[in-house]
């Protein structure tokens, strides 16, 4: 995965991403307040997109691998218990690692 086309793809993704990230701060910051409805979209849309990412990551490639599913379920349980971010990631990963070790 190398060559000018791949480099151009990375740079294009970077430029487009910066434009999307900076649109709000550059166009709006310090000028006027957005509507409550737009603020609500700003909260709902990320939740929807993140959930879609998790669901497709775990389920889209057919039946989920048991070790992977175990790690994600443990991570979800820790989130429900309000565990800190790093603990969720590290214990979730460790769970998957242990299940893979025991039942490869």
């Amino acid at each position: 995965m190398t060559g000018p086309a791949v480099v151009a793809g990375v740079l294009g993704l970077g430029l487009g991403t910066l434009l999307m990230k900076a649109a709000g701060p550059v166009l709006v910051a310090g000028r006027h307040r957005t509507s409550g409805r737009l603020d609500a979209v700003g909260v709902v849309l990320p939740t929807a997109l993140l959930s879609a990412l998790v669901a497709t990551d775990v389920l889209s490639a057919g039946p989920p691998e048991p070790a992977r599913l175990a790690g994600v379920v443990v991570a979800g349980g820790l989130v429900a218990l309000r565990a800190p971010f790093a603990l969720v990631v590290l214990v979730g990963s460790a769970t998957t690692a242990v299940v893979r070790l025991l039942a490869p």
Binding site: M1, V6, R68, G71, G92, T95
Partner: protein
Amino acid sequence: MSTPTARDRPAARLATVAVAVGAFGLAFGSAAAAAGMPAWLVVISSVVVFAGASQFAFVAVTAVAGPAAGAVAGLLLNVRLIAFGFALAPRLGPAPVAGRLLDGYLTTDESAAIALDGPEDGTRRRLRAAGITVGLAWVLTTAVGALGGEALDVRALGLDVAFPASFLALMGTALRTPTGRRVGLVAGVVAVALTPLLPAGLPILVAGLVAVPVGLRRTGTDA
């Protein structure tokens, strides 16, 4: 995510985010190296794109459908960052254009969540502190992952789960509300159902857009 103790100890909070991003960075760097992306390009990607999920998507889609499709998939994933930018913007206050571009560059899922959680007049300070912390952790760990990709066994360490686990953690506050759970459930089901039917990246975007009206109906602001 909005517990008073976490808000009272910003340094501890930044440290936990740096560790989580670092785990994700090791996973991405080594996965990209395993997919054949040279280490220097992995590092450039982390500096220039600085949006982990889209960099992951770029590598995954480029491997099967070429870099143009990879870039489109990454951009679709990052549409959510427009929403973060507009959620942050009214709280940022006036600044020169270069400063506002910097605010945009430093906007990530993690830095936006930290910046939005707390008093309005500290939003820019929290965004920049978290953005710089996340950026340093991200670039350094993707470099380590890319260079040590051979030595580090991502699957044996379970680091591939860092990706969904970190997204679950980012959704934590929202998932504790009924609206957030409804939105999450609808988006997840729609995305999985559409995956066999649409090109990579599109099911995520469609699921996101379909779920927004679900969240805004009735109890629109409690998510």
